[in-house]
């Protein structure tokens, strides 16, 4: 049954070219910022491009577009409604949809992070191969966390309007360095990419926190979609 449940969100992603326009636009922005960092000859070009345009702006908006495409621009429960109508358990249908959103976002996030690191690689950055690998897994994890977070947001409001609220809330509260910021993906991703940590949290702590945020919001989204 799992294969059948995955088919709809994958088809939404692959058969809606219009949904890829914003994703392409945000990816282009991140690459343009990386190219600019390289052009200025910055010694830590990769760090600047990843913490700045990629982590703070492009990745959240790009994942927002991927989640919107996976859900067909609707709320999570409604996006799974047609599968539930055939007798699929609502929780499994929601889990499959969230899984596709997380998987697709992680792949795109990883590829884009690696591309940004390669474009903006500066003299004082770590060796290129290691930098690409590290940027890729951090990009994948950050994108996965944002995908789960936006799927949770899509369980609120008519036609998943809570997704947009989640984006704004992450922007406002996640940008700080206080305890409230720890609930959102933004400060942990920033920390892992080499930016300022929230509450002086170590990078290992940020990694664990990002995984916890991903799992918790995904489970909350499934629980809300079941109701």
């Amino acid at each position: 049954m799992t294969g059948a449940l995955l088919r709809l969100p994958i088809a939404r992603l692959s058969r809606t070219p219009r949904a890829w326009i914003p994703v392409g636009a945000w990816a282009a922005l991140a690459l343009a910022a990386a190219w600019a960092a390289r052009s200025t000859g910055s010694a830590h070009g990769a760090d600047h491009a990843l913490v700045g345009a990629y982590g703070a702006l492009a990745l959240p908006l790009l994942v927002y577009g991927v989640v919107a495409a996976t859900l067909g621009g609707d709320g999570l429960a409604r996006a799974c409604g047609s599968l539930v109508a055939f007798g699929a358990p609502a929780s499994r249908a929601a889990l499959a949809t969230i899984g596709v959103a997380i998987g697709a976002s992680a792949i795109i996030g990883a590829l884009l992070a690696a591309a940004v690191a390669a474009f903006a690689h500066g003299m004082s950055d770590p060796p290129l191969a290691r930098d690409l690998a590290t940027s890729a897994w951090i990009g994948a994890l950050g994108a996965a966390a944002y995908a789960a977070y936006f799927c949770f947001g899509a369980t609120f409001g008519a036609r998943g309007g809570g997704r947009s609220a989640a984006l704004v809330i992450d922007w406002i509260f996640g940008a700080g360095s206080g305890a409230t910021a720890l609930l959102f993906p933004r400060p942990h991703l920033r920390n892992l990419l080499g930016g300022a940590p929230a509450l002086e949290m170590s990078q290992r702590g940020a990694l664990v926190a990002l995984v916890v945020v991903t799992v918790v919001v995904a489970l909350l989204a499934v629980a809300r979609a079941r109701r």
Binding site: R12, G72, L83, G87
Partner: protein, 320 residues
């Protein structure tokens, strides 16, 4: 298969109150306008609306139970279908979820809509989408409960005759429940009819007894190859009291249903016409509901009073 006891449910502005009935294998019609509660009862049976009081058991389980959910096929007026898939893929996905063989093309062809198979669901017109949902519900091998809201309304015309045949065939081994506002459809299709009024079940009848509930003259609707010839022969029948043509159909009315049917049959034989369609036409659902709840006379009196012209007031006498 379905046991309902003192059911109360609510979907504003609609509500169901104290509905008690049990439905087994066969075709059951919930008769009433959409606002009378039939579609809401279907949604409750499908587990889409919460039970607020009483109990509902479908196959001895709650409707929301995962095992039960796979055995229920529910087609509301706007059925949710997987927008990004093709019609063929939709039936394959539905079959995988229900745990049955997926022969999508054959299932669509059975309802005469095989040409829709390669189309994307989001490209379908509403009536095509409904026909696809009904095809999925009626041709599924594993469903034991089929719930359809108005099976002939807003459906691709290519599918209507096949839907009628499949409903009857499916009802031989499953519990098929349709909500309809058409007494004629209910009488023609169903084995039992449940008349709903204002959220209450006011009467449960065998379908053939429905005509007896109906007040007023009997009416037979005939569509024939040569309406003019048939009209001429019908006008010679003494048991036909009144004749009316509506589009291609002739409506013949008489005081006694059996005598009227015999008269129409004789007229058809004499006129030597081919009959495309012939069925008993029942009065509108409001009249049946009123008759079922014993309020027909009151409603008639009330309508009569409203229809009577108000007499002009007497001329005022000028004071001397």
């Amino acid at each position: 298969m379905i046991a309902i006891e003192n059911l109360a449910a609510r979907r504003p502005p609609l509500a169901l109150a104290r509905v008690t009935c049990s439905l087994g294998v066969g075709l059951h019609a919930l008769l009433g306008a959409p606002t009378e509660g039939g579609p809401l009862l279907l949604a409750v049976l499908a587990g889409r609306e919460a039970v607020r009081g009483g109990s509902v058991r479908v196959n001895d389980r709650a409707p929301g139970d995962p095992t039960t959910a796979r055995a229920i096929a529910y087609v509301p007026m706007a059925p949710p279908l997987p927008d990004a898939l093709t019609v063929r893929e939709t039936l394959v996905v539905a079959a995988r979820i229900r745990g049955e063989e997926a022969d999508a093309d054959a299932r669509l062809a059975a309802l005469g809509i095989g040409s829709l198979a390669p189309r994307r669901v989001r490209s379908l017109a509403p009536e095509e989408a409904r026909a696809v949902a009904i095809a999925e519900a009626l041709t599924s091998a594993t469903t034991s409960v089929v719930l359809i809201d108005e099976p002939f309304v807003g459906v691709d015309p290519r599918a209507t005759n096949a839907i009628r045949d499949h409903l009857r065939a499916r009802a031989k081994r499953a519990c098929v429940v349709v909500a309809t506002a058409s007494p004629s459809d209910a009488a023609a299709l169903a084995t039992s009819v449940l008349v709903f009024a204002r959220g209450a079940l006011v009467r449960q009848e065998a379908a053939r007894a429905l005509a007896a509930v109906a007040p007023g003259p009997a009416c037979v609707r005939v569509v024939a190859s040569d309406p003019r010839a048939l009209l001429a022969e019908l006008s010679r029948e003494p048991n036909v009291r009144d004749l009316e043509t509506r589009d291609a159909a002739i409506l013949a009315r008489g005081d006694d249903g059996a005598e009227l049917a015999a008269a129409v049959t004789r007229a058809i034989a004499r006129a030597r016409v081919d009959v495309v369609e012939m069925r008993t036409e029942l009065p509108p659902v409001e009249v049946l509901q009123a008759a079922a709840s014993g309020a027909a006379a009151a409603a008639y009196q009330s309508a009569l009073t409203r229809a009577r012209p108000v007499p002009p007031p007497p001329p005022r006498q000028e004071p001397a």
